[in-house]
Symmetry: C2
Subunit: 464 residues, 2 copies
Amino acid sequence: MAKNKENNELMEKIVSLCKRRGFVFPSSEIYGGFSAIYDFGPYGVELSNNIKKEWWKAMVQIREDVVGLDSAIFMHPKIWEASGHVSGFSDPLAECKKCHSRVRVDHLLEEIGINADEKMGLEEINKIFEENKGKIKCPSCGKDEFTDVKKFNLLVKSNLGNFTEDWNKEPIYLRGETCQGIYVNFKNVLDSTRMKIPFGIAQIGKAFRNEITARQFIFRTREFEQMEMQYFTNPDEEMKEYEKLREYRWNFYLSLGIKEENLKWHKHENLVFYAKEAYDIEYNYPFGFSELEGVHARGDYDLTQHSKYSGKDLSYLDQSNNQKYMPHIIESSVGTARTFLAVLCDAYTEEKTGDDTRMVLKIDKKLAPVKIAIFPLLRNKPELVRKAKEVYDNLKSQFMCEFDDNGNIGKRYRRQDEIGTPYCLTVDFDSLEKGDVTIRNRDDMKQERIKIDNLMEYFKDNLS
Amino acid sequence: MAKNKENNELMEKIVSLCKRRGFVFPSSEIYGGFSAIYDFGPYGVELSNNIKKEWWKAMVQIREDVVGLDSAIFMHPKIWEASGHVSGFSDPLAECKKCHSRVRVDHLLEEIGINADEKMGLEEINKIFEENKGKIKCPSCGKDEFTDVKKFNLLVKSNLGNFTEDWNKEPIYLRGETCQGIYVNFKNVLDSTRMKIPFGIAQIGKAFRNEITARQFIFRTREFEQMEMQYFTNPDEEMKEYEKLREYRWNFYLSLGIKEENLKWHKHENLVFYAKEAYDIEYNYPFGFSELEGVHARGDYDLTQHSKYSGKDLSYLDQSNNQKYMPHIIESSVGTARTFLAVLCDAYTEEKTGDDTRMVLKIDKKLAPVKIAIFPLLRNKPELVRKAKEVYDNLKSQFMCEFDDNGNIGKRYRRQDEIGTPYCLTVDFDSLEKGDVTIRNRDDMKQERIKIDNLMEYFKDNLS
């Protein structure tokens, strides 16, 4: 209970920091907000970009066996039939007869101890729902009268490219996951590159789902960004490659400085029929261990379905032994915002010294939104400001830097600590005479003097 | 005419290169393609990412007066009323009575020499259309019978967050331009940063428009990515800042290695009522000079509208002189894909030597999808392959590299020339003895020997 309170407080502190320092803003705030959507502010977009850069480096740049892709959000609607999303990607919803709010029936049943399986038909759910009438209350108004349960598809529909009025009959979907764009480009990649199985295709992009309950800040939102790598394997080697991928992905989070005790594997017990094995990497968020990434062995389902629905044979001919087979796919799939939130939670630190509390984001240097802050000791001494600007102008060509001459140095350190800036440089009167500056380290607050002429080399060694 | 033919050929060559070498694939190709949407393949995504990185560096990283943002695609629908898009962002369409294809009436009128002004009402357009009946033929079937002209809104509609069936009544729009996300976050940025006017907010993101005629490859598509910077100024300084921004943006393209003779300014003659001045930077595409970027002075329209519609006062108080005003906005807005296409057209080179033609992409090193290709001279000599892999493994930690041991060295050079790789390294028998490799320069094809131990430093000097 005490632990819960502490965790709620941590979540509140992070949400508040995000707003106050420009990491995350609620969407359309001046219009009263909008639909569990969030915008990334000035520091947020830098953090988010740095996360994506590190992911791309780990998943594409340093891997000879993986290439990148950036497929569009919109695709042929038949793709979503082939994938099973049109028929199967839905939540059971009912409407409260009193307040007309819509509720997730599976969640309400779960709360009274009934597990409503994904595969359960509508009739069966309705029956259970009816049997438990009275026990189930509307979360908004407390009443226990609901309409019949209906399935609501999670794919977001649009009228893209449809110039009639009744486009609802043939909706064009926004993608519900980015991986379908990879599957349908499998052959294009094979034909235009020299890749041979096993190989992977990686991409970062947005996906959309009509979740009725978006919640926990940026953890679950209707618009979200995925970083996915789909790896095509020989069926005989699927599970061997799967184990390698699991290890690789675990180590990725350690390389971002995430504390290993805050990560754990969660094995899926109820697999979808085609899956071989599925594990999630969970992070210990303030609201409990929850999915950060999925690492799943998907068998040959995806390419088989797209072969069937497109009429194009997507099987692979291994020219070294003339073996022909439908590739099996293992995937790594993670949300940018979930990584973002895990990184913030993991880095958030309060250090007490006597009555004073220092709030510092001990974020990995690679991810820090600002790498170096440059201060003139006093803002009203033009020669200090000039020299500090000179240092700033030189370093900013290579690193994200910030110039700050506002308030005393202590306050400026605190401002940078809050956003996780690893290095602060102060230009003082000695700098003008001796050509050196004070460099202050975020984590241990130690200071040293360093020659201005050596700064670029120092940071190239310490930041790249 | 000869020039036209040459240009059509160039366009065909570029489209073909894009497909063959994995820069751009038509979306959903195995399903017969989809709706003028394109996917970026392995080299395309690298080029596109490099363009965005250079834009971000020029517009955010090295500018003390600009911060970044990443606002969501979905926003409060009232924002699109405030911006004027719901009432005014539409094309006049009619339907051919014979083949039922939809036509842009303004385009058809233009073809017979009639300028259908944007501000023209529906009644007036219908009258002109009727008067010219017989002269106007359907571009698809040649017949001259059409339905009445209707205005069709370009905003793409969706059912995001709407769990009813009749969501068409209150559609949620996909954003038609990214800048609205900047305007509505103006106050959030002011409140969470130390920015003071003049300052800018920059962002890169997707936007969507229901264009009836998407065309010219990736030049005009219904889903597209914008790179925009909106700069907030004191009304008295709007035009001074505007001139600075125009110069800055022009120089940006030169810094990407675009030939200056392929760029020109186009001044808008018919300004929308609130605009002060509007220029486009046009690039000389194979289909003629066309808009690459817009640099527009928008006055106080945007913040005034959002103040009115949101009920939140977005005026700015200058604390240095207690002056209060509605900021005026100047904007720079460019499409990633238009820059991508301009870069490819500008870099595409054929060099004839006797009967032989070398196709080479003379693309700026900063933008090249692959920076360094590493070859073992012979693939069947394990000691060469091993040494080449060692070099590759070392360099790939810092640069996008490619390993290639397929075919003779000449062929490998050609493959890299086609995708614009600035440097090729060959590991030969001398490398094993003397520890140096041949480095071959893309543009002049000159070769030199360089010590393996010095490669990292060499490329850090030449590529960062």
